[in-house]
Amino acid sequence: MHAVHTHNLSLFLGESEALANISCCIQEGEFVAVLGPNGAGKSTFLKVLLGVLEPSAGTVRVFDQAPRQVDPGWIGYVPQAKTLDRNFPALATELVITGLHRTWVRRIRATDRNAALEALEMVGAAHLADRPVGALSGGELQRIYLARSLVRKPRLILLDEPATGIDTVGEVDFYRLLERYRTDQKATIILVTHDWEVASHHACRVMVLNHRLIGFGKPGEAMCEECLESAYGSKHHPSIVDLRGRHHV
């Protein structure tokens, strides 16, 4: 079964075409990195897969179903911009439990707490369980959001620039954890990132996006000079040169 299948997917946000004729197929168990400049439609693509945004044209199937029909427990999501109210009275455990119930709970049941603790343990953040959300650092908060996305053991995890705010050591642990989860659960991972090194190291395939699909394939193929130039406008950008040197793209 395909985890994700889109055919000529287009989406207009107001006057502008955020996504244009995206056709792709992501197999179950794959780790796909989505690269592209700011405003390329990467986060929008994830929101279409979540069923938050409806495509203007074309089709989208997630596990062979329309996104809104998919069991919400099958998809875990780590958002990009943390739009939370840091002044909201909430414990880290409660935020993780929203991943279980998709609502705020009045009373924390023992079973929910255990599930939340297990997810927190998985991301190395069990010690933060009873910490108020407002007192967490950016990196700690990222781990809590990741635990939230894993708490229902999803088959598909969508991550939107999840390593923002995490220190270098934490970042290594973070991706190691994702890899382990993918192997253990045979889960599919779609990661939106600006970090080309992460994409080339961890992803089975890379999707280069700038409103339209510019390249999609193994890191060495999709991150070719033509694709990156087409997406970013210049193949002489230091990151491209650096990457070319290290990964022979």
Binding site: V52, T83, P89, T98, W104, R107
Partner: protein, 293 residues
């Protein structure tokens, strides 16, 4: 205290006051956490416009004020959704327009003053059986909508995250605003237009300072709101003071107590940390003076 309750008008005042306190402090937690303190004021002044229209038309003022205020609450969200204006700005516009309309409506009616003033400052001791039934109906409505607390709390915490979990955030915003508008109109008779926002804001704000969970904040806000209303009514009877104002001052006293308790806890924590630092510094000095081996 209890002989006061033998008086029928005090019984009605207490029941109405407790119902309004429950409603305002329950919805107040969302008002405070969403930073919509000004909305209470805006809706109260919209209610004034509705009451004035009712007086002008010679109808029961609250029956006109309910649809009028609900319409304004919907319009506030509608305009906010479709423009780049901030909530406070949109509320400010409707606040002023409703007030101006109310003044015009009253000026068109001749002998209006007594009625209008009772709505401005409330007349809790003149609550009728009909007022009680109306307030009771709004409480039932709040209890029926109570399963939505989790959704509202989730969207209050993180609107975008709630959207990705397919919470109907916009529908809930309209619904919450309409329920808030109805609550404000019911509360106008009890506490008056001038003081209603205190009922919405102070108990919830006091609770916020001393809790770590939103569920606890909700319960504590309701407790603060209802307790200040019961004791405020009793105090106003004993001291012969205006009831609405006495209740609000009691709420302010609770707010102050919570504020002081937060300061006290922070002070104690800092002192403890300072002592711990001193102890570890002394220990380190001791080690330097008498190095082992």
């Amino acid at each position: 205290m209890f002989e006061v309750l033998a008086l029928p008008f005090m019984q009605r005042a207490l029941i109405a006051g407790l119902m309004v306190a429950f409603l305002a402090s329950y919805y107040g937690v969302f008002v405070v956490q969403r930073g919509l303190g000004f909305l209470g004021n805006g809706l109260a002044h919209a209610a004034f416009g509705g009451v004035a229209l009712g007086l002008l038309l010679g109808r029961e003022p609250l029956m006109i004020a309910v649809p009028f205020t609900v319409a304004v609450s919907i319009a506030i969200i509608w305009v906010r959704q479709r423009t780049i204006l901030a909530s406070d700005t949109v509320i400010g516009v409707f606040f002023a327009v409703s007030m101006a309309a109310g003044i015009i409506f009253l000026s068109l009616k001749k002998n209006y003053s007594a009625d209008a003033f009772s709505y401005l400052f409330g007349s809790i001791l003149a609550i009728t059986a009909t007022d009680l039934w109306v307030a009771g109906g709004v409480v039932v409505l709040a209890l029926l909508a109570q399963p939505l607390w989790g959704r509202w709390a989730y969207a209050t915490f993180d609107r975008e995250l709630a959207l990705t979990d397919r919470v109907p955030v916009l529908f809930d915003e309209y619904l919450l605003s309409v329920l808030l508008a109805v609550t404000v109109v019911v509360a106008v008779k009890v506490v008056g237009i001038v003081l209603i926002s205190a009922f919405l804001v102070i108990p919830a704000a006091a609770a916020r300072m001393v809790v770590r969970r939103f569920a606890t904040m909700t319960w504590l806000s309701i407790l603060f709101g209802m307790a200040s209303t019961a004791f405020g009514l009793w105090g106003s009877y004993l001291l012969d003071l205006p009831s609405g104002a006495t209740i609000v001052l009691l709420q302010a006293a609770i707010f102050l107590a919570c504020l002081l308790s937060v300061f006290a806890v922070n002070f104690a924590r800092r002192t403890q940390q300072g002592e711990a630092r001193q102890r570890s510094a002394a220990k380190a000095r001791g080690k330097e003076d008498h190095p082992a081996g």
